[in-house]
């Protein structure tokens, strides 16, 4: 409770500083609409021309893509900036300052580095979800609503955990941001379309090694009632919350190991 009140304080200071540049603040959000809006437009263009991809129709692919975008947006509000700046903080020895604060270092970093850009991701995904729901026959009974929330939480946890793990690499390697770029952006590129269109090995990799498939593919399969390949047990559709929790635990473990290793660069 106490820490929530503290977070409210951090946020209010952060937003006050943002409001000094109000136009820039709104542009930060608007620019996400052009980036992801143009991606949506591309999906719309190919699927109007070709009708379906691997048996998934336009609105189904939009649903799939949006599940990824929304969970990424939610987790990044909090963990994107801290993890991105960690490389720089470790190099400069600034991380020392975080360690001497009377607070959990991870919580402290998250508290002080909100990232307003991702409000754009969230806003846009809500709009696209609203459009998808009108065109798709998803039964919204209590169980499905519950699972939707749980799956979204799980997906958010997976995305956050992967960001934390790749960010923690700063404690071992001097330049970790290019590692993050590959891990986050290149592998995430596979999630733009149903993973069933890729070769068997890529599907297995995305399920068991970097479990990105749980972010959007398996939950979407459930909600849209899609037949999967024989490769994965139907039970995988319910795996997202479990994988999210497990991966988050792993991420916190890696983070703690990283801090143990951190010695400061001296300055």
């Amino acid at each position: 409770m106490n820490s929530l009140r503290l977070y409210a304080q951090f946020l209010s200071v952060y937003f006050k500083s943002l409001m000094e540049y109000r136009f820039s603040f709104f542009m930060d959000i608007f620019i996400q609409f052009t980036t992801y809006g143009s991606t949506y437009m591309g999906i719309w263009i190919v699927l109007t021309r070709f009708e379906s991809i691997g048996g998934w129709s336009l609105y189904e692919v939009l649903f799939l893509y949006t599940f990824n975008l929304l969970s990424y947006g939610i987790c990044s509000l909090f963990v994107w900036s801290p993890m991105r700046q960690l490389e720089w903080m470790v190099q400069r020895g600034e991380f020392d300052g975080v360690l001497v604060k009377p607070m959990n270092p991870l919580v402290h970093l998250i508290f002080r580095q909100f990232n307003q850009h991702f409000l754009g991701h969230i806003l846009l995904s809500c709009i696209v979800f609203a459009i998808c729901f009108r065109h798709l026959d998803i039964v919204w009974n209590a169980a499905n609503i519950c699972y939707f929330v749980l799956a979204l939480a799980g997906a958010t946890a997976i995305q956050a955990a992967l960001l934390i793990i790749s960010g923690s690499m700063s404690f071992w390697f001097v330049k970790s941001n290019s590692f993050t770029d590959t891990m986050i952006y290149s592998f995430r590129g596979f999630l733009d379309y149903p993973i069933s269109i890729y070769s068997k090995w890529i599907q297995i990799f995305l399920t068991f090694v970097i479990p990105y498939a749980f972010v959007n593919y398996f939950p979407s399969q459930y909600f849209l009632g899609k037949e999967g390949s024989d490769l994965f047990h139907p039970f995988f559709r319910f795996g997202t919350p479990v994988i999210g929790a497990l991966l988050m635990m792993l991420a916190l473990f890696v983070w703690r190991k990283g801090i143990d290793r951190y010695q400061g660069t001296g300055s």
Binding site: V46, T182, I197
Partner: protein, 266 residues
């Protein structure tokens, strides 16, 4: 001229310092290639070829298209927009004004330097790796000169767009937004991702009036032999026309920007 080649060589060498990233970047590009190839393979699942206004386009054409588009992205991308934004923000632009060199030409040569080093350290490995999975078909020899000219012109057009938008930094300090906007517009309207022949009519018409398709789509269609000699020459003519227009726009923006520039202290 030799002066400007010094900018080129300098930037080439600077870029060499970041060799460690090259492997990761290449991994990223190869994965992007996998995604695109899988996308088109899946889209072509039910059909052998698609009827378009540029003739029949088969899956094979699309695989070649994807490889070519990835190669072009390595060759044309630059960080000109950030370089110039930084110069304006930091006031370095004042120093530039004192030097007897044209900023535009110097930056063009710097961009060429970066891309020359990418050609060696990123493009060649990528083509080699891509050849294992998606061997690129070579075009008839007589097409190559036209393709190379179109490619070089596309590079210049891309540079001029980035340069001009970078100059907007005189008025709008958050250059990151402008860069994102340019990337997004190019992503769709250049055909880097989806070839223009699959666009709905209204978007095809719109992109005819824009310069972006001349960076990716038009050179690729020349390579793939989808345009005859006359059309290829027309494309190159249009490119020169756009280069002319963009040079004039850049000059105009530059003069307006410089006349409003005030540099504090020093």
């Amino acid at each position: 001229m030799r002066l400007y080649f010094a900018f080129l060589a300098n930037e080439f060498q600077t870029n060499l310092a970041y060799k460690s990233d090259v492997f990761l970047k290449m991994l990223g590009r190869v994965m992007g290639l996998f995604v695109q190839a899988a996308l088109w393979t899946a889209l072509y699942h039910n059909t052998v070829s698609a009827e378009t206004n540029m003739g029949q386009i088969g899956l094979n054409d699309m695989i070649n298209y994807v490889v070519l588009s990835t190669c072009i992205s390595i060759m044309v991308n630059n960080n000109t927009i950030f370089q110039i934004g930084d110069k304006i923000r930091s006031g370095d632009i004042g120093l530039q004004l004192m030097k007897p060199v044209s900023l535009q030409t110097a930056m063009l040569f710097q961009a060429m330097g970066i891309n020359a080093s990418r050609l060696v350290f990123e493009l060649v490995p990528l083509v080699a790796v891509a050849a294992i999975f998606y061997p690129l078909e070579l075009p008839p020899v007589q097409v190559l000169p036209l393709f190379l000219i179109a490619l070089a012109n596309g590079f210049v057009i891309n540079f001029l767009l980035a340069y001009t938008l970078g100059l907007v930094g005189f008025w709008y300090i958050n250059i990151y937004h402008l860069s994102r906007l340019l990337t997004d517009v190019i992503k769709v309207f250049s055909g880097a991702w989806i070839p223009l022949w699959f666009f709905p009519q209204i978007l095809t018409d719109l992109s005819e009036w824009l310069p972006f398709r001349l960076i990716y789509f038009s050179p690729i269609t020349i390579y793939l032999g989808k345009t005859d000699a006359f059309d290829s020459l027309m494309i190159i003519l249009q490119q020169f026309m756009w280069i002319g227009i963009l040079v004039l726009v850049a000059k105009f923006v530059w003069h307006r920007g410089i006349s409003k520039l005030v540099i504090q202290g020093g």
